[in-house]
Symmetry: D2
Subunit: 334 residues, 4 copies
Amino acid sequence: MLIVMNVGATQREIDGVVCAIESLGFRAHPMPGASRTAIGVTGNQGAVDIGHFENLPGVAEAVRVTKPYKLTSRDLRPEPTIVDVGGAKIGGGSLTIIAGPCAIESREQAFSVAEAVQRSGAQFFRGGAFKPRTSPYAFAGLGEEGLKILAEVREKFGLRVVTEALDESTVDLVEKYADMIQIGSRNMQNFTLLRRAGRSRLPVLLKRGMAATLEEWLLAAEYVMSEGNYQIVLCERGVRTFAQHSRNTLDLAAVPAVRRISHLPVIVDAAHGTGRNYMVTPLARAGVAVAADGIMVEVHPRPDEALSDGAQTLTFDEYEQMVKQVRAIHEVIA
Amino acid sequence: MLIVMNVGATQREIDGVVCAIESLGFRAHPMPGASRTAIGVTGNQGAVDIGHFENLPGVAEAVRVTKPYKLTSRDLRPEPTIVDVGGAKIGGGSLTIIAGPCAIESREQAFSVAEAVQRSGAQFFRGGAFKPRTSPYAFAGLGEEGLKILAEVREKFGLRVVTEALDESTVDLVEKYADMIQIGSRNMQNFTLLRRAGRSRLPVLLKRGMAATLEEWLLAAEYVMSEGNYQIVLCERGVRTFAQHSRNTLDLAAVPAVRRISHLPVIVDAAHGTGRNYMVTPLARAGVAVAADGIMVEVHPRPDEALSDGAQTLTFDEYEQMVKQVRAIHEVIA
Amino acid sequence: MLIVMNVGATQREIDGVVCAIESLGFRAHPMPGASRTAIGVTGNQGAVDIGHFENLPGVAEAVRVTKPYKLTSRDLRPEPTIVDVGGAKIGGGSLTIIAGPCAIESREQAFSVAEAVQRSGAQFFRGGAFKPRTSPYAFAGLGEEGLKILAEVREKFGLRVVTEALDESTVDLVEKYADMIQIGSRNMQNFTLLRRAGRSRLPVLLKRGMAATLEEWLLAAEYVMSEGNYQIVLCERGVRTFAQHSRNTLDLAAVPAVRRISHLPVIVDAAHGTGRNYMVTPLARAGVAVAADGIMVEVHPRPDEALSDGAQTLTFDEYEQMVKQVRAIHEVIA
Amino acid sequence: MLIVMNVGATQREIDGVVCAIESLGFRAHPMPGASRTAIGVTGNQGAVDIGHFENLPGVAEAVRVTKPYKLTSRDLRPEPTIVDVGGAKIGGGSLTIIAGPCAIESREQAFSVAEAVQRSGAQFFRGGAFKPRTSPYAFAGLGEEGLKILAEVREKFGLRVVTEALDESTVDLVEKYADMIQIGSRNMQNFTLLRRAGRSRLPVLLKRGMAATLEEWLLAAEYVMSEGNYQIVLCERGVRTFAQHSRNTLDLAAVPAVRRISHLPVIVDAAHGTGRNYMVTPLARAGVAVAADGIMVEVHPRPDEALSDGAQTLTFDEYEQMVKQVRAIHEVIA
């Protein structure tokens, strides 16, 4: 259920509704908007009697929500969410560029990429310390040592650090060193991890699962939000199809589709979404043209020597050129 | 096999090689390039002895081709093909916009849309006279009457007319009235139709099949080319996946993938590729950003009254706005 | 619309209703059932006034049909259709085995396989004279010469011959020599071909398209039936997915799904459905276990020398063993 | 790398090789076969020098393995693995039936189903205590209370209990009460969970991910095995495709494909694989016909009142009938 407050409702009235919700054993999710506050109600097994709430002071209306997602929905919050990552914003019309190597390999490698990222004017640095690998025998990242290098990158280059957590205990570590928790495709329905991220103070970058419908993706975000963390950025990264010319099939129609039903920002991962170096720049441009809130790419000083995913990684020159083009396209559609 | 002529080879030398090929019972496909001519050899069941050709006057080298496509390949022709449609060009760096109603419903409707298309500066008008419909009971187009209206549009508005043919006898009719033959997704592997189009003097717009790999798509083009018609434009229009938020999943990575292996121009159908009105403009922008040679969209004075595919059709205002945006994006990447 | 006649309706009453339907410019499709006759009405653009028919003599009721398929539907005909192929039956509880080489290569090859097929007790021989090939340069069948060999097989071994037609003119030829017209996956939405088959006196084997939904498949059958040919056997042959371990993903759930909504028989092509020799027998068994009306397989004296699709072809020994197993499974579920 | 011991190698020689492997910092996985023992080597980042091992006493040969999976491969162990679940066996030619409700709802419900399962002669009872649900607001199982009911079922009915674990802490609980740990589709690439299950003394039922290739599925098993737990049963449960007539598309060709490359048993989940009650029995029969080692189905006294997945659940009568049929089919192919 969704409770919409009056335009002029006071904080006291809002608190009163929250209190009434909680006294029934449910959970209240107040979400202030530009003009008025809406309060999501979750935790109810069946239908809730609307009469409980409609007569409380400050309430404009109580709306039964039949869609399976509530907190992620525009019904709850018509204005776009702007996610704050250590002071830098994602969403709301700006263009976010998140760049970095697939995996952190060494301080030297990370610093070299970070300098290129900083020079391009991007504010976000990505790099994996914990890598989910299909094979148990593949390089799985430097672990906490990698996180420490990421923290140094933040310090030295003033970039916000985005990095993946794989389970509850790596969330603990990521919280210690980074600015944003990435949840990968393979974990999009790892509900234990989603709930843990929902109890974090850090914003969450939630990648779409390899075969996830829009509804499943939004419900994964709903898991995070239902624990109280509303700072989520969705990331389209391609779905699995019969097509063999790219590693995944980047589903750019998902961007307007998400925009239509959700207030959350959505970005496009042009590296994993294609898996081919020569496709990254065209698809990054397309991601911006389709009006995503940002793009994510991989950069490496020598892609062919990268320990992970070199085939989809840009050189510094390619990266710089790409940034110029996506900025110009963003101007066109702004 | 592919025979590459010397840079300064004379027409007489080229004719000599063609003659030698044909005398062995094979088929010769001379394709003049910017600097030199290459001659494709088809019709051989097994391997051909390279020695037959390498010593002929004017021959630089004879190359065995192992890929299943030959004539569509960049190996045969490194320069991009520019397709000439009644004097208007597709490919080679320009931006082609093909617009019109899904189906021709009446002269009034066609003229009204044509005026909007002409006003936007587009050179190509599309409209179906023969509509392949999933159900035998759905509106299947006006037939030859529709073609006559299309011919009037060409006359009155100076637009080139693109329209679909379904079989050999409709190719005969389309040849009579239109400038370019469209072959639809459902017919991408209708080899009788492909061969017939290959014997036409009109250029061909070849849509990708709903579940076609890149190789199958290029081999469909190869069917047309193997009959002697080299004027083909490929059209990505979305593939079928599990995703339900759009009618098809537009596979924009196919554009750089085609570009890498083929010299044929490739455009993006943002209408069928999405099936949702609100997605057409963002995906048309993305199609241009990914460096397609053009886009195809549907326009109708009153989309909700359209007899076919109204859900994916732009109004005149939406169309005009879209054209401005894609032109600006094309400038950025040119 | 569907008009259901009384149990005891006379032929004269049935004729009267047909006449009334046709006098309104529609098309009548009388389909006699075990206890009563139903008459499908097609050709109406919009809704038809039920009042026209309900008061005619012999009419039990007139039912508006909202599903897009009518003639293929169990609503029209609750009893299963039994297709008659030159006196041999498909459907209605018996187990049909259709076997033969992918392509007819020579009289010797065809006779050798036909003998094995006859020996196994199967009644149907398949073999391609016109092969739709992805590449224009691949072996495309012997054409009419192949059909003549098929006709000899019929004569000499008493088998019914099933063979593919690619277009209107090959239907003409197939009608001359064979007992059943196969329409292949790539042509499932070749509506010109479907309509032509609908005007044939021969029964039709309609393969499912590579990415066809159930509804699209039934509507393809509807095209054939709407022209008056009600003798159709559906054939599941796998759909295209991301899976790489088999050539296609055989969708056996389609068999009970078809059974639930349609009266048409449905068989399973275990050869094209898998594309791997070692999978053919297990999946043929599974096809029978799922209660398909029959199976289709490829047999060749020396599969590794086959000119087409050798990789999915059984040897004589493997074929014989498979037939024993599927017969035993059919007993179990009968 | 794989070290194959001589047929008559002594335990002492085997221990010597294990010791040599570990002294190089690698991990040894001895797997005794019918005639000889093979020892898998994992933990090596790059290639290992074969010379280290070939001259050790008892070694027949050392083989470099280039496939990404090793321990799951037939190269390591040609004989089929027979998994021991509390004394009951899965694999090796017998037919395993795993049945029970989707979710444990109450002692009464569980006992009622268990009685029916026991009566049918099946040895395995399944039931969820921890349910991974797409929506955070759906019924997620009774938790430890559910496990206690499962333990009572085991006690009272002598059935082995299979139940799902979602993360490390639920593995701890499942180990306390059940006989086999199920890892669900959504967690097939939850590597933390896989590693934890690899350190369990309980056998593991590993479901295929919704869009997992065969290689990814085997590599997920490899994660479990690389931690030392070799008791794994694979479970095909359908993949996600465009098809809408069933909840998932059951990919039965995966059964012979797994069999060909791996020694692990593989079963078929006909409930989740179809999601439709009327398809469960036909597809369970097909699963046995394709030679799976067993099937998994859902049974409930009143499917329409089930708290989870009622739509794919059999009644007691349907279940009993199904068991008879699959047993008879198993006889045919044994």
